[in-house]
C-alpha cells in the first residue's frame, strides 16, 4: 500500500450503530478531497459494518489497523464523487 499521511482523526468508539457511521461520515465531509481520515472504532458491529458503509459512499479505504485493545483504526481517503456535489 502506498504511504499516506493522516490529516484528521475521529473517535467513534463512544457511539453505537447507526451513529457510528453518521459520525464518521460527518468527519469525512469536513475534509478536502484526497485528505486522509483515521477513524477509531470498536470491535464487533462497528468494524463489521462501518468499512462497507464508507465504501458504499465512494471513499477509498486504505488500511484497517488492529490496535490490540478491542479497537481498530480505519484509514480512509476522502473521494468526492462528481454526482455528490
Amino acid at each position: 500500500m502506498a504511504d499516506y499521511t493522516i490529516d484528521e482523526t475521529v473517535d467513534i468508539t463512544d457511539v453505537v450503530c447507526p451513529v457510528t457511521f453518521v459520525k464518521a461520515k460527518v468527519a469525512l465531509e469536513e475534509l478536502e478531497d484526497g485528505q486522509v481520515l483515521s477513524i477509531r472504532l470498536n470491535d464487533g458491529e462497528p468494524v463489521q459494518n462501518v468499512p462497507r458503509s464508507i465504501k458504499e459512499e465512494g471513499h477509498q479505504i486504505l488500511k484497517l489497523i488492529d490496535n490490540g485493545d478491542g479497537t481498530y483504526n480505519l484509514v480512509v481517503k476522502r473521494i468526492t464523487l462528481e454526482d455528490q456535489t
Partner: protein, 286 residues
C-alpha cells in the same frame, strides 16, 4: 341459483363476517404496485368499499366491504385500472419479494424480475394445498425466506483475487462466520464455513473478492397452524435454468405425493426427507 362462495373465494373475494360483503384480494407481485394501480385501487375502495384497504401479511392488498351485487362491476373496473384479482385456496399464492439488488445495497440478486417470472410460471396453479413462494435478496432475510413453502435467498459464492488484496483485514472482520483468516502468506478462506452472505465481497475496498450471484433454496416452511422453518440442503445454485428445474420438481413432488389439503411440509415429512432430498439433488446434478 345460490351464490357460489367457493368460486368467489378462489377468485380472490373473501367472505366477510358481514353477510354479502367481501374483502377483495388483489394480485400483487413482489410487493410492487404502480402509482396508476394505487389510484385505481383507491377509487374502487371509495366507490364500492369502505374507503380503505388492508395490507396483508404477505404484501397483498385487500379491499374490504365489496358488496355481492358489485362483484362484476368491480372486476371490470379493476381490470381497466391495470389491477388483477388475487387467489385463495389450494394453489400457488402471491409471490413475495424484498427490493433486492436493484434497490438495496445489501442485495445479492435482482428479486423483482425473478418474482415476476415465478409468478408468471406458477401463480394460481392448482395443488393439494396452498403454496407460497418468497424471495429475499440476501442473508439479512428481510423477506423471511424460510417461512415459505419454497424460499429463495440471494447469495454470493466468492473467490479471492490475490493480486488485488492488500491484506487490509476489512473482510476478516466483515465475515460473521469466521471463515477468513489472515496469515503471513495472505488470506485463507475456509469454504466449509462460508454461508454465501457475500459480506467479504461487499466490504472489500480493493475488489479482491469476486462474488458470483446465486440462489439458496429452502423447502417446507410454514408459519400458520403448524410452525416449521424451511430446510436448506442444496448447494448454492448459480443459474436460473437449474433454479426453475428445482422449483418445477418441488411442485411436481407436492402434486404427486401430497394428500388433499396437506401442506408441503407435512407431505415431505410423510414421504420422507431422504426421498425428497434425493429428488432435488438429482435435479441439481443434472
Amino acid at each position: 341459483m345460490g351464490t357460489d362462495y367457493k368460486a368467489l373465494k378462489n377468485g380472490g373475494f373473501m367472505r366477510q363476517t358481514q353477510k354479502n360483503n367481501f374483502s377483495l384480494r388483489l394480485k400483487v407481485v413482489g410487493g410492487n404496485l404502480t402509482a396508476e394501480q394505487l389510484v385505481a385501487i383507491a377509487e374502487i375502495s371509495k366507490k364500492y368499499g369502505d374507503g380503505y384497504v388492508h395490507l396483508t401479511s404477505r404484501q397483498g392488498v385487500e379491499i374490504p366491504f365489496i358488496k355481492l351485487a358489485d362483484v362484476e362491476a368491480v372486476k371490470t373496473e379493476l381490470e381497466a385500472g391495470g389491477v388483477n384479482t388475487g387467489v385463495c385456496g389450494p394453489r400457488v399464492r402471491t409471490v413475495t419479494a424484498c427490493q433486492g439488488s436493484a434497490i438495496c445495497p445489501s442485495g445479492c440478486i435482482d428479486t423483482y424480475p425473478l418474482a415476476v417470472e415465478i409468478s408468471n410460471r406458477y401463480f394460481g396453479q392448482e395443488l393439494p394445498h396452498k403454496f407460497k413462494f418468497g424471495i429475499t435478496g440476501c442473508m439479512n432475510n428481510c423477506l423471511k425466506a424460510e417461512e415459505n413453502d419454497l424460499g429463495i435467498k440471494g447469495g454470493y459464492s466468492v473467490e479471492l483475487v490475490k493480486e488485488n488484496c492488500t491484506l487490509c483485514g476489512v473482510c476478516v472482520k466483515a465475515c460473521r462466520e469466521g471463515a477468513i483468516t489472515k496469515t503471513s502468506e495472505g488470506l485463507e478462506i475456509d469454504k466449509s464455513k462460508c454461508n454465501y452472505c457475500g459480506r467479504c465481497a461487499k466490504s472489500c475496498p480493493f475488489n479482491a473478492w469476486k462474488g458470483e450471484s446465486g440462489y439458496l433454496i429452502s423447502f417446507g416452511g410454514t408459519f400458520g397452524n403448524l410452525i416449521a422453518k424451511g430446510e436448506q440442503f442444496l448447494p448454492i445454485i448459480r443459474n436460473k435454468e437449474i433454479l426453475f428445474k428445482v422449483t418445477d420438481a418441488a411442485l411436481n413432488f407436492f402434486a404427486k405425493y401430497a394428500k388433499p389439503s396437506e401442506r408441503f411440509r407435512v407431505c415431505i415429512d410423510r414421504a420422507g426427507w431422504d426421498n425428497f432430498k434425493k429428488e432435488m439433488e438429482d435435479i441439481c446434478n443434472g
